[in-house]
């Protein structure tokens, strides 16, 4: 039972991290109609920046803040230099162009930081563990991730729902042409939205960095999960991304944790351990297939343009 609770917390943490990644992706997709495969590269760049800055300044928090700023700048630069010309084009063009960006970023990172990965170590005050009732020792850092991600989610909610900029973002997601026709500087809005998405991706990257290694190509696997999340949640909808991310995180973690045991009830032990890893990886994609078949627009679709 305790193990189950712990896995639930892990799933929540993973889901929230996915939300950070998916939020940027769904915003960019919903507002600019841009399929950005290079989002995973921004995640990777954020992690690399954090590792480097933390090493320079000696402080994890300072490194994290600097990395956020740096990723924001990189994101805006990429938008202005490369992605601006892709707006309005076919999605295939977006996929191809941003795939090219993935190749570019992977090689750039390899050039600057070398092929071996980096590691980001936690400060002492984050390396402890706390006692959560009823009796689980849970790492402080993971709790910090959960808290941080929830705060960011709250911040996003306030910005999108309660500010003028957020209103423009929501309007742009519903009807882009109208917003432009009403005289809003749509180019600046796009750059800002993209920068925000990049910062979120960088945040996810740097938060995940101490748990997994910082290495080239780390963004690619999680990028697919982020896409699954936004498809399940509904493209353009942050609320959908939130719900879908938590769902995906929980199902993935609990599935991986308990599927072998569940299968062992039905199959022989050998059979269960043979197919369990494959099946747990498949769970998320099965979920996406089910959602696409039943509700193709996603769970929380934004009204169409």
């Amino acid at each position: 039972m305790l193990l189950f609770l712990e896995q639930c917390l892990n799933g929540l943490q993973f889901g929230l991290l996915l939300f950070l990644l998916a939020a940027g992706l769904t915003l960019v997709f919903g507002i600019m109609d841009l399929v950005n495969l290079a989002h995973g590269s921004l995640y990777m760049v954020g992690a690399y920046f954090a590792a480097t800055f933390a090493a320079w300044t000696g402080s994890f928090v300072a490194g994290a803040l600097l990395a956020l700023g740096a990723t924001l700048l990189v994101g805006m630069a990429v938008e202005v230099i490369a992605l601006r010309r892709l707006y309005g084009r076919d999605h295939l063009d977006h996929v191809l162009g941003t795939f090219g960006l993935i190749l570019f970023f992977n090689e750039l990172v390899r050039l600057v930081w070398g092929p071996a990965g980096l590691s980001l170590s936690l400060p002492a005050w984050l390396s402890t563990s706390v006692q959560i009732p009823p009796g689980i020792q849970y790492p402080t850092y993971r709790i910090a991730i959960i808290v941080m991600a929830l705060l960011v989610a709250l911040f996003l909610y306030i910005v999108v729902m309660r500010t003028r900029v957020g209103m423009l973002i929501r309007a742009g997601a519903s009807n882009r042409e109208m917003v432009g026709a009403l005289g809003i500087n749509i180019k600046l809005l796009y750059t800002l939205v993209f920068g925000l998405g990049a910062a979120l991706a960088g945040l996810a990257g740097l938060m995940q960095a101490p748990i997994l290694t910082v290495q080239i190509g780390m963004g690619e696997n999680i990028l697919i999960l982020a896409f699954v999340v936004i498809i399940i949640g509904g493209i353009g909808s942050i609320r959908g991304a939130f719900v879908a991310a938590i769902l995906v995180g929980l199902i993935d973690t609990i599935g991986r944790g308990f599927l072998p045991d569940i299968l062992r009830l039905v199959l022989s032990s050998r059979g269960a351990s043979a197919i369990a890893p494959a099946m747990s990886s498949m769970l998320i994609y099965l979920l996406m297939t089910v959602v696409l078949v039943l509700r193709p627009e996603g769970l929380f679709p934004v009204s169409s343009k």
Binding site: V35, L92, V95, F99, L103, N106, A274, S281, P296
Partner: protein, 331 residues
């Protein structure tokens, strides 16, 4: 396609002649590695041609096309492992299993369009990648070594590099010819029409889903054959063959070569290889004045140019190399 003496057609014919006489050139020049290199290009060109069928003509951008390479390869590998080295069993089995996979995947994915289609094919690619990683019995993540190539007792000796190269080349030409005939037939017209305006095709009375699914299955089958060939070529299969980035490589080949042309993928495959060989050298030359002896190391990072090149092709040279050749003729 008319048989005019356009620059484009001349290039195509020259290419075919070059490929046909490659082993001769390799034997004379003593460069045996060229046969291995071009066998790989030919096999990948075949996979890319099958992708061009659905992507270039059908508008179905599949980021999971490398799955069929993996499926074809694993069928050969698994059969070889289980004691069925006969090519007469392996290759038809690879074709049949690939067709089955394509049927199932297509039936599920083709209900969606546009970016959803891209994403769901991507997800299926990952799904089968993880299934392959989970195949403990057949190597899992480490892959499966194939100790002998498909046995076509008496008829062919696939261990002979030259023979194998010609087998691959003939199959590639067959695939290109099949694509050309399909695309210019009534079936092809429906597919192309469905790409432009699916609703209208349905309104005219064509059951477009069935046509697109059939096209998808044909493409998957050809790609499965390419996978069987690749497994024979490298004598090794691993889940990495099915990773979505491999599908990305195929897409790059098709786009670079030209999506609207049957020879485009072949040109793209060769172009990608040419880039792989020449970009490091060019970077080395360019970097020499700045970094001196370290210039050769600078050449290692050639892919840093490939990414932006792809972006530039997408932005400015939409028709790929074949498109540039046609344009040159018109202009």
């Amino acid at each position: 396609m008319t048989a005019h003496l356009t620059p484009r057609n001349i290039v195509f014919v020259a290419l075919l002649i070059f490929l046909a006489f490659l082993p001769v050139y390799a034997a004379i020049g003593g460069k045996a590695f060229l046969i291995t290199l071009f066998t790989r290009i030919v096999i990948l060109a075949m996979a890319a041609t099958s992708l061009n069928l659905i992507m270039g003509y059908g508008g179905m951008v599949s980021f999971g096309h490398a799955v069929y390479i993996g499926v074809g390869g694993y069928v050969v590998g698994i059969l070889a492992q289980e004691g069925f080295p006969s090519g007469f069993l392996q290759w038809p089995a690879a074709l049949a299993v690939s067709a089955l996979f394509a049927l199932v995947i297509g039936a599920l994915c083709l209900r969606t369009r546009g970016v959803y289609f891209i994403m769901i094919t991507l997800a299926f690619a990952q799904l089968f990648y993880y299934v392959a990683v989970g195949l403990e019995r057949y190597g899992g993540d480490d892959g499966l070594t194939i100790y002998s190539r498909s046995d076509f007792s008496g008829l062919l000796n696939l261990s002979n590099k030259t023979q194998f190269y010609y087998v691959c080349l003939i199959l590639l030409i067959g695939a290109i010819y099949l694509t050309w005939r399909l695309v210019n037939s009534r079936f092809g017209m429906v597919i192309r029409g469905s790409r432009s305006n699916d609703r209208r095709m349905q309104a005219i009375g064509f059951p477009t889903f069935r046509y697109r699914l059939t096209c998808f299955v044909i493409a998957g089958t050809i790609c499965g054959l390419a996978g069987a060939l690749l497994a024979n070529h490298t004598e090794f299969v691993s889940p990495a063959m099915m990773h979505w980035t491999r599908s990305g490589d195929l897409i790059v080949m098709v786009v670079l070569g030209g999506m609207g042309s049957v020879f485009g993928p072949l040109i793209g495959a060769i172009a990608l290889l040419v880039l792989e060989e020449t970009l490091p050298v060019l970077i080395g030359w360019a970097a020499y004045p700045f970094v001196g002896a370290a210039a050769t190391q600078a050449g290692e990072y050639w892919q840093i140019l490939l990414g932006p090149m792809l972006l530039l092709v997408v932005l400015f040279a939409r028709g790929g190399i074949a498109g540039l050749l046609s344009g040159a003729h018109r202009g």
